[in-house]
Symmetry: C2
Subunit: 123 residues, 2 copies
Amino acid sequence: MQEIAAISKALGEENRLRAVTALQGREMCVCQLTELLGLAPSTVSKHMAVLRAAGLVESWKEGRWVHYRLANRGAPPAVRQALAWAAKWLQGSPRARQDAARLKKILRLDKEELCRRQGRCRG
Amino acid sequence: MQEIAAISKALGEENRLRAVTALQGREMCVCQLTELLGLAPSTVSKHMAVLRAAGLVESWKEGRWVHYRLANRGAPPAVRQALAWAAKWLQGSPRARQDAARLKKILRLDKEELCRRQGRCRG
DNA sequence: GGTACAATTCGTCATGTGGCGAAGTATAAT
DNA sequence: ATTATACTTCGCCACATGACGAATTGTACC
């Protein structure tokens, strides 16, 4: 029951739902998610930690970057079904559409430029 | 997206999951739920209000009693599917089993006796 | 080694949430 | 009308959570 509660709780927050939706069909690093969500990196990191603790996403390091993807393959059935549920009903949501448009632009930028846009590279 | 978040948030709490599980296939009044969950009536009432706001349960008055049932019929598909998901994966949970056993006994008592057991009738 | 930098962790704050008991509301019984 | 009672609302408290910036960590590049 705790596992089901953890999954539900993880999905019970708008910004995390936005992240999950953005990860539909692609991998993203934290800096891309940060740009999309418009939150501080530390905040995004915490959100992703919640999603990972619930088993909804998995992450791995590649150089300095940490990539996240949905835990579709090899995840418990309850998790897969929850993700499918969220994806299905968020599809038409205005917020999801809006994010999808912004995401397109973000994915076109390379990471250096992204960083510059966030104003954290001019040390 | 807010609706999906509200549904998830409502299900993201153990006692509310217990209530939803108990309502599987039956209606219950608040005093029965209170006995099952072992919480104060006011707390149970608040939990049920959250579930109702998310569209997961519906309630109606019958005399002094307020009955709750799952919002299966006529509810939005996202709600029905969420309830089905929760029911499916809570089935085997130890907590759910334990509650099911206690629930059997509670349902055998009539409401007067229930009230007496809760020690709120000896004004 | 030293610097740059993506990400996380830490410290802090404001707000949200779960819990209770007391007070209030609505309905039944006397 | 008065009392009893099933539930909700209100007021309060302790704790959880989302947000940020600062400090820390791990990795690449001089």
